[in-house]
């Protein structure tokens, strides 16, 4: 059997990486349908307008930001597929081992063609677990040839999920890839509640492996950033304060070093939306987000300098719009095959009620707080 086509993620005999939960799609949950999610965001849980918030467009209008335009594309974020070895409760991708949508080598080639001669400075690889795409290493090597900075959003446990991934830290180092990894807390309880039983323990091992090859260590230039997501229906605390705490606790308890902590707000979509509705927190959470609307965070919102590419090559304003199937609103440039930078830079960014997640409090982006 060709190892690259091996669809099983785990080593023989290994328990599924944590949590028996399935994706919404596998459970045939109605929230697997993007239209259903948008209906809830716009018209309330029962679509009856019993719960409505000020439209996000109106909120942007009040501060002179509507329609919202890009400031220029700097970050090219590629979602390499929805397959993942974890099934986190807050996942906005609805990723999991049962998801088969992954990017083909042909689409990756389109990415590479697009990146040539583009002003993009950073290529941000995400998923699912991007490493599960059989073409992952080839893609990283090819992007590297273009001289772009590469970020990999690595869920950590993938490094230990199968022996064929054990050398990922070395591979990342070889290509000077920046590693951004979720670790919702420096204790096991909160981490495992969000990401599944045992994820914390394996994440710690993976972080130690990354440290061992130089990641997160001073003077190596190998950047290891961590991501905090609230494990519940609340907003993140101060990024600066929490980073200090993470650094102290991870060093004291596990000898782990890292560069920066990014605090990211959970978006009210997909599995996190399901959690909010199931736990009766949806309306209060949305009220919290809207009450915390921060104009400075809105000005610096990440969709203004990012373009998001789906596994099938379609373009989106961000990974969240991608998951809501809100395709980019740009004439003759909705797919990589017709990528037109000039048109894209003039486009109107598609916004909706979920966008309150990026503008609340200190703001939230794939690079953490916007206005810390």
């Amino acid at each position: 059997m060709n190892e690259n086509n091996d669809s099983s993620i785990l080593s023989p005999g290994q328990r599924p990486v944590k949590d028996s939960m399935n994706s919404l799609k596998a459970r045939h949950n109605i929230l697997a349908d993007a239209h259903e999610q948008i209906g809830i965001l716009e018209h309330g849980a029962n679509h009856d307008d019993a719960f409505r918030l000020a439209p996000f467009q109106q909120k942007l209008g009040e501060i002179g930001l509507y329609p919202l335009h890009p400031t220029g594309i700097e970050i090219f974020q590629v979602n390499m597929g929805k397959m993942c070895n974890q099934v986190c409760k807050h996942c906005h991708v609805d990723a999991g081992p049962d998801r088969k949508e992954i990017m083909t080598r042909e689409t990756m080639q389109l990415c590479l063609d697009t990146l040539k001669n583009s002003p993009v400075t950073t290529v941000d690889l995400t998923g699912g677990a991007p490493e599960l795409n059989p073409q992952f290493r080839w893609f990283v090597e090819e992007i590297k040839k273009s001289g772009k900075h590469i970020i990999v959003r690595c869920n950590l446990t993938i490094i230990l999920a199968n022996k064929r991934f054990n050398d990922l830290p070395g591979f990342f180092r070889q290509h000077a890839v920046e590693v951004v990894s979720s670790l919702p807390f420096y204790t096991a309880d909160r981490t495992n509640r969000q990401r599944g039983d045992g994820v914390f323990e394996e994440s710690i091992k993976a972080l130690q492996m990354l440290n061992a090859v130089g990641y997160g260590k001073e003077g190596t230039g190998l950047v290891l950033n961590l991501v905090y997501n609230p494990a519940g229906a609340f907003l993140p605390p101060s990024q600066t304060m929490l980073e200090k705490e993470f650094k102290t606790e991870l060093m004291k308890n596990f000898g782990i070093a890292f560069n920066q902590l990014y605090t990211i707000t959970n978006m009210p979509i997909s599995r996190y939306l399901d959690y909010l509705l199931q736990s009766g927190n949806y309306e209060k959470y949305m009220e919290k987000l809207t009450a915390a609307f921060n104009p400075a965070a809105a000005k610096g919102i990440m969709c203004r300098n990012t373009i998001s590419v789906g596994w099938d090559g379609f373009l989106y304003d961000c990974d969240f719009n991608q998951m809501l199937d809100l395709k980019i609103s740009c004439k003759n440039s909705v797919h990589l095959s017709q990528f037109n930078l000039a048109n894209l830079n003039k486009r109107e960014i598609v916004v909706n009620q979920h966008c309150y997640g990026c503008t609340a409090g200190a703001g939230s982006s794939c690079g953490g707080a916007v206005d810390p």
Binding site: P236, P237, M241
Partner: protein, 111 residues
Amino acid sequence: MNNNYYNSDDLAKFGNIGEFQKEVADKFFGWYGEVFKDSALSAKEKSLIALAVSHAVQCPYCIDAYSSDAYEKGYSEAQMMEAVHVAAAIRGGATLVHGVQMMNKVKDIAM
């Protein structure tokens, strides 16, 4: 007024107390904001103190606010419950230590 003395929706209306007397309300909220800033004690530590005091004064609004705040700031369930025990122990101890007054009085009057 409705039929309940306490309504959780009222917490969000706290800021409205300035409608009846703005000047002192502004002073209170200004002072309140200063009190909870990161300083010699961190904002996180102050949140846990506030949680304990909320229980000591048995203020449902404060318990609502600081249960969320302390948890958001990263305290675990066990840490928060221990803080409540501190408040309870001080309250219990405060009652009990007066037992010494009682003893003093009884010893004064007893034969």
